[in-house]
């Protein structure tokens, strides 16, 4: 099946959108109202009424951060790589990983984009994980992610691509198996059916005798990719330090 692309859609009478295991139907019901219906493969149905005084409405389908399913509990994601990356002392590297996304539906009016609905096309892949000890650790959205070769390796409505740069300033080599960071610092971008996330820079450091990880987000340079509207409140953590596990 051909799935609907990301982007803006104008609706005068009706619109059908198709996603992996999810369908959306928008219909004009009368002069001032549209109906919105989302149905997934498990039979869950969400229905809304969209009042509108104009003849047509515009919606935007965009990738959003994978934080909402099954419930919004955290700003952090825990990406567990499918392969270990070994970084020798004083070395640096960068690679691309496929990071899961959710899909947001935004109502566009008067240059505003209002969050109207969200869903995930991969509910079985959206789980929680803990980084650290149960009493002091960070609850994260947990995803096992593959390392990929190209920025275009994202999957429509399922994943985006993210570049992670590692720099090892420790006096020994280190095996990297995961990345944990507040994803609300990162913006998503899309073009057609592809999507990508702001990059992450990770530095392994040592202060006195304590080894720690410093993470910081790196904004994507100006491109022709379209910036996704934000579902959650964006955050801006200049850099973050975490213990090394």
């Amino acid at each position: 099946m051909q799935y609907s692309n990301y982007g803006c859609y104008e609706i005068e009478e009706k619109l059908d959108l198709f996603f992996p295991s999810v369908e959306i139907r928008i219909r004009r019901t009368d002069d001032t109202n549209f109906s919105y219906l989302r149905k997934d493969s498990e039979g869950n149905v969400v229905e809304k009424i969209i009042p509108s005084v104009s003849k047509k409405i515009q919606i935007e389908v965009a990738p959003i951060r994978p934080l909402n399913y099954p419930a919004r509990r955290t700003n952090f994601v825990y990406l567990k790589f499918d392969k270990e990356v070994f970084l020798s002392e004083n070395a640096s590297t960068s690679f691309l990983v496929r990071c899961p996304i959710e899909v947001g539906i935004f109502l566009v009016h008067d240059s505003h984009k209002d969050s109207m609905d969200w869903f995930t096309c991969d509910p079985s892949g959206s789980r929680f994980g803990l980084y650290g000890a149960p009493d002091t650790g960070n609850l994260c959205k947990y995803h096992k992610v593959p390392i990929v070769n190209s920025e275009l390796d994202s999957e429509l409505h399922l994943s985006c691509v993210m570049r992670i740069s590692f720099e090892n300033l420790l006096d020994r080599g280190y095996s990297i198996t995961k990345a944990i960071f507040p994803i609300t610092d990162h913006m998503l971008y899309y073009k057609g059916e592809k999507s990508q996330l702001d990059s992450l820079k990770v530095t392994l450091r040592k202060r006195m005798a304590v080894e720690y990880v410093e993470t910081a987000e790196v904004r994507l340079e100006q491109t022709d990719w379209i910036k996704s509207p934000s579902w959650e409140k964006d955050t801006q953590t200049p850099s973050m330090e975490m213990g090394l596990e």
């Binding site: 419930a71 149960p134 609850l139």
Partner: protein, 274 residues
């Protein structure tokens, strides 16, 4: 002019202390100003500072400010009117002892309340449990004499501060995650590893609130009378106990049933001799 007029008014004596109408009016004005300042200060505090403080802390600070200013006003009033309390001290001391004995538990509750405010064993809204009293619910407030807990059935339980302070308190929502455990038995003829593997798969696919890191663990606990008893340990976000605990055993049983793995019930074989 006014001063002379008031000074000229009659004075009178109570318990050896001379009062003039002028002094009493000054005292009344001081008390009035004191009440006004106390009310304004309380309102300003409630408007600007209380919203950023935990509710019970804000309430107690608000009371402290209000009554603090009134007590200061009262002291100013007694000074201005020349009331001498030294005569009352001896009688007050004896009375204090009597009242102290009579209100021992009240005072104890007040003191325990102060210690609870200092120690802060739980925050407002935390899920807590008092295992000794078999009380569990959401922590509401510490007030002057008692602590309130909203039980999970929606009712409010009032616990005297002293009892709460000396109880064992289990805070259920202080950590970001909690662990839940359940036990299930399989028949002796079944393959333990296969049963565990199928339970793992079900939990991963059907229970979205169960953490994948740390992943669910399984432990063969006992070779029981009728079954091999397996304990299941799963972690979940602290808010989502209700999504995991009540359904874990249901999913486990349904999974084992679907896989044809027997969950035995106690059986006794009786041999009848000739």
């Amino acid at each position: 002019m006014f001063h002379e007029v008031f000074e000229s008014l009659d004075s009178f004596t109570i318990a050896g202390t001379e009062f003039s109408l002028f002094n009493l009016m000054v005292g009344a004005i001081i008390m009035l100003i004191g009440f006004t300042i106390a009310r304004i200060s309380k309102s300003l505090f409630n408007k600007y500072y209380a919203p950023v403080l935990p509710e019970h802390t804000a309430k107690n600070f608000s009371k402290l400010i209000y009554f603090g200013i009134i007590i200061i006003s009262f002291l100013a009033f007694t000074t201005s009117t020349g009331i001498d309390f030294s005569g009352l001290l001896v009688a007050g001391g004896i009375l204090g002892i009597v009242i102290g004995f009579a209100t021992q538990s009240v005072v104890s509750n007040v003191i325990s309340g102060i210690f609870l405010l200092i120690e802060k064993p739980a925050k407002q809204g935390d899920s807590i449990e008092l295992p000794d009293s078999n009380i569990a619910g959401s922590f509401v407030d510490v007030s002057t004499f008692s602590t309130k807990i909203r039980k999970f059935d929606g009712t409010i339980m009032r616990i005297p501060n002293e009892k709460f302070f000396t109880s064992n308190i289990r805070v259920l929502s202080d950590s970001p995650v909690r662990r839940h455990e359940a036990a299930i038995g399989i028949a002796y003829k079944e393959d333990i590893d296969a049963a565990i593997e199928i339970l793992k798969k079900t939990i991963r696919s059907r229970m979205p609130f169960v953490l994948q890191e740390p992943e669910p663990t399984f432990r063969v606990d006992e070779l029981g009378d009728s079954s091999i008893n397996i304990s299941i340990f799963v972690w979940h976000p602290k808010e989502d106990w209700g999504e995991v605990a009540p359904t874990l055993l249901k999913f486990a049983k349904n999974t084992l049933d679907d896989a044809g793995i027997e969950i035995p019930f106690p059986q006794r074989v009786i041999w009848k001799g000739d």
